[in-house]
């Protein structure tokens, strides 16, 4: 996967990319009897992979734990030093291996521990979402969020919302079926 690294433009030239960008839904409609994902009491559960930057979102998730906030157990967080470390390859791999949704989360723009990492994330995310949509993935399955170390309630809400948004989409069968 080649890099999608923008070379020019100030951080302000790009709107904050909360949520999806309103592209058409291209996923196949959910089937009555999904064949992937874990089931609980016979009900299909979405399986979400999250990439969290060590300094903000991972800390925010820790705080959610310390505050004993409850959220659905559907997401598994992968710790990365910075959201800018998330190679588009990792996202593709997660979808390829059957993740129903992927979240990339980092510090708020301007608050990156490394100064500029999340600006690159922001631009890569926009491009990635377009690419995935082109490939037939519903944009709701791939989202980016800025969650600071003190925003535990936001982390809880993001996980809850994402789970509920993905649930009606059903399992991600697009690539699992072509896998050998």
């Amino acid at each position: 996967m080649s890099a999608l690294s923008p070379k020019s433009g100030s951080p302000a030239d790009c709107a904050v990319t909360e949520g999806h960008v309103g592209l058409p839904v291209l996923d196949p409609p959910p089937t009555a009897a999904p064949d992937t994902g874990k089931t609980k009491n016979g009900e299909w559960q979405p399986y979400i992979v999250g990439f969290a930057c060590n300094w903000c979102t991972y800390a925010g998730a820790d705080l959610a734990g310390l505050s004993r906030m409850q959220y659905p157990p559907n997401m598994r967080l992968v710790r990365v030093p910075c959201s800018g470390r998330v190679n588009p390859q990792f996202v593709l791999r997660a979808f390829q291996k059957g993740a129903d949704a992927v979240l990339v989360a980092g510090c708020h723009p301007g608050d990156c521990h490394y100064g500029t990492g999340n600006y690159f994330t922001r631009r890569r995310f926009l491009l990635m979402q377009r690419l995935l949509t082109f490939m037939g993935v519903d944009p709701r399955r791939f989202q980016a969020r800025w969650i600071s170390g003190s925003e535990a309630p936001k982390f809880r809400d993001v996980v809850t919302e994402l789970t509920e948004q993905v649930r009606p989409l059903g399992p991600n069968r697009l690539w699992r079926e072509v896998e050998p």
Binding site: R68, V80, C82, G84, R85
Partner: protein
């Protein structure tokens, strides 16, 4: 295959309550590569760590996973534990099944299921871990302080007192900075020179301090521990070794120039010291105004000099020296009042700034301390102060408060009343901000005991009628316009960053804000550090500050710098970028994306088909890299990777999470 151990912590009942730890351990034991899996009540406790160490020896483990609390909590604990039993500390991964699992999910079945997934992720990652070793960086035991105002002097003195050599650099030819120009200091009315000059002498005579005045930083290379700083020592035309500072040349010099130190209200000579207590107290020749250097005629100073110290052929000297750490204390400059056209700043001679008034008040100033207004030398009777000129004004792009003006106006009104008991001071203000020890009390005294007349409102216009100034403004408390006939108007000009602050910041590789103030690493918890390791901030270069704050910050920066200087070598961060030179195409994408300038393209010699060829490859400076991983994603050839968070490790984690 590596031999991996998995240790499942109960954290008392914190984890065990919603996660079936035995099931996690059993699932782990069944995984390929895992040769030992164990659960225990408190893994981080002493017996827990002993248990890990014994298991490492007994099962000859290559690495292990601890499923416990957040790695932000105990990663260091478990890494050190590995170090104690001879394992590389970076062969350890900690998986978070407390904050991210047991505490947030009440359902034990779902919690256990998630904990097992996370444990698998940890095992998959640790299978790909490589031993990492931190590079060591040698420490040059010498500090550079840029800017010799009060903040820089304090920083240099404290570093020197800690026993380290320090070079104190200033572009002016005397140290002292802005504080040397100030007459008295609030709130105690100490004479500024009386408290500053002893410090100037102390720093000049300190055996650990090297003064480098009339010199500027040209470029900075290297990184924490070994900054290579190129310094231009400007031509002084006076041999400081021979010069005794007798001052004969100054007396005889025929050319007079307005003195910058006196805010151009008094003359100086072309060969001069800026003020009598200057350190070093040896003159320099101001080349653009020297008759001999401009026309070749004169040379009186050379003839009169008893020690033959004048060198008309002197040249700038450029030196490169190595320092371990840098303190930046470049201070501020006064806001240029000519931006306020309606106040006639710079156009009407009797509209002056706070610093002008300081010099008029000063006993060694151009008027020997007598208050004479610049236009005709008359004693002013009505004096109007206007605050927030170049502060708190969005229209002039100065939204910030300059912090010192409220207090210096109160001080100047007090001093004027003492010197001219018949005078009256009118002070136009927006708010009076007197945060500081004994500041509010001082402001009250100015109002009550010194007859300072405070008017809340802005001034709209100042114009001359005869020899008087009409100040037209608005009293927003009474809700009506006011007009005052004044003899002298003092604009409380705010603080601006130095005009070349941005250039110096780029030279040093430190951050600055929209106005040009240098940015600290954290607004609360790292007030003197910069984002660049080994470079610290002191004084008003970081934002408007009064003298006590500048001194405090100078000392704080000195402590930080000294703490570095006590070390003979620094331990680098081992989890940093790594470049596979065989794959690197030398495109340089990583060079531009790196926020720390840690990557450079360097030539590499290679033998290809029997011929020596040279090609460019990226080289990472382990002293500068902070391990953000931005370059790894930018690299089109996948040559860039990162220790501890390698592509292979993260990919393995993703695979382990998804393949269930």
């Amino acid at each position: 295959m590596k031999r991996i151990g998995v240790f499942v912590c109960h954290c008392g009942s914190n984890i065990a309550h919603t996660v079936d730890c035995k099931q996690v351990a059993d699932e782990a034991a069944a995984m390929p590569g895992v040769v030992h899996a164990q659960e225990y009540k408190y893994m981080c406790s002493e017996p827990g760590q002993v248990l890990i160490q014994e298991a490492v020896k007994e099962h000859n483990l290559d690495g292990y996973v601890v499923t416990a609390c957040s790695p932000r909590m105990h990663e260091t604990t478990f890494r050190k534990c590995a170090g104690r039993c001879g394992l590389n500390p970076y062969m350890v991964e900690q998986v978070n099944i407390r904050e991210h699992c047991s505490w947030v999910h009440a359902d034990k079945e779902a919690g256990t299921e998630k904990a097992i997934d996370l444990m698998r992720m940890g095992v998959a990652k640790v299978l790909k871990n490589e031993p990492l070793k931190a590079a060591t960086i040698p420490m040059t035991k010498r500090a550079l302080v840029i800017g010799a105002g009060i903040a820089g002097i304090q920083a240099a003195l404290d570093i020197a007192d800690n026993g380290f050599p320090v070079t104190l650099l200033d572009r002016e030819h005397s140290i002292g900075g802005r504080m040397a120009q100030i007459d008295k200091t609030f709130p105690t009315l100490d004479c500024s020179a009386c408290i500053l000059t002893p410090k100037m002498v102390e720093v000049a005579q300190h055996p650990n301090v090297e003064l480098m005045t009339y010199a500027e930083v040209e470029s900075v290379g290297g990184f924490i521990g070994s900054f290579d700083v190129t310094i231009r020592k400007k031509a002084r035309y006076v041999d400081t070794k021979r010069c005794t500072g007798c001052g004969a040349c100054i007396q005889k010099c025929p050319s007079k120039v307005p003195s910058e130190f006196e805010m151009e209200m008094g003359p100086r000579k072309s060969i001069y010291v800026p003020f009598p207590q200057a350190v070093p107290n040896k003159p320099v020749i101001d080349a653009p105004h020297c008759r001999y250097l401009q026309t070749g005629k004169c040379g009186i100073c050379k003839k009169i000099c008893p020690t033959d110290a004048i060198r008309f052929d002197d040249q700038d000297e450029v030196v490169t020296e190595r320092f371990g750490t840098i303190v930046v204390a470049t201070g501020y400059q006064q806001f240029d009042i000519s931006a306020y056209e309606e106040y006639g700043g710079g156009r009407i001679p009797d509209v002056i700034t706070g610093m002008h008034l300081e010099r008029l008040l000063n006993a060694s100033g151009p008027t020997s301390g007598k208050i004479k207004r610049p236009s005709d030398g008359k004693e002013p009777k009505n004096i109007v102060f206007i605050k927030c000129v170049g502060s708190r004004d969005e229209a002039k792009n100065r939204p910030y408060c300059s912090k010192t003006c409220c207090m210096y106006v109160a001080k100047q009104a007090t001093l004027l009343k003492e010197k001219l008991p018949a005078s009256k001071s009118y002070i136009f203000y927006m708010d009076v901000r007197t945060g500081g020890k004994n500041y509010e009390e001082f402001y009250r005294r100015t109002q009550v005991d010194y007859d300072g007349h405070y008017i809340r409102g802005r001034v709209s216009k100042i114009f001359q009628v005869g020899d008087r100034l009409i100040v037209r403004g608005d009293d927003s408390l009474l809700g009506r316009p006011v007009e005052i006939e004044a003899d002298l108007v003092v604009l409380a000009a705010g603080m601006d960053p130095q005009h070349d602050a941005r250039e110096l910041a780029r030279t040093l590789g430190i951050a600055y804000d929209a106005h040009g103030w240098y940015t600290e690493a954290h607004p609360k918890l790292k007030p003197v550090e910069t984002q660049t390791g080994g470079i610290f901030l002191a004084g008003a270069c970081q934002g408007p500050k009064d003298i006590p704050d500048s001194v405090a910050q100078g000392s704080a920066a000195a402590v930080k710098a000294s703490a570095l200087l006590t070390k003979t070598e620094l331990t680098g961060e081992p989890m940093i970028a790594q470049c596979n030179e065989a794959m690197c195409s030398g495109c340089g994408l990583c060079v531009t994306i790196c926020p720390y300038k840690a990557i450079t393209r360097q030539p590499k010699q290679e033998r290809i088909h029997g011929k020596m060829r040279e090609r460019m490859v990226s080289t990472i400076n382990s002293g500068l890299c902070q391990g953000c991983g931005a370059c790894t994603v930018a690299c089109p050839s996948s040559a860039m990777n990162m220790g501890g968070f390698s592509d292979e490790q993260i990919m393995a984690e993703v695979d382990a999470l998804c393949q269930r």
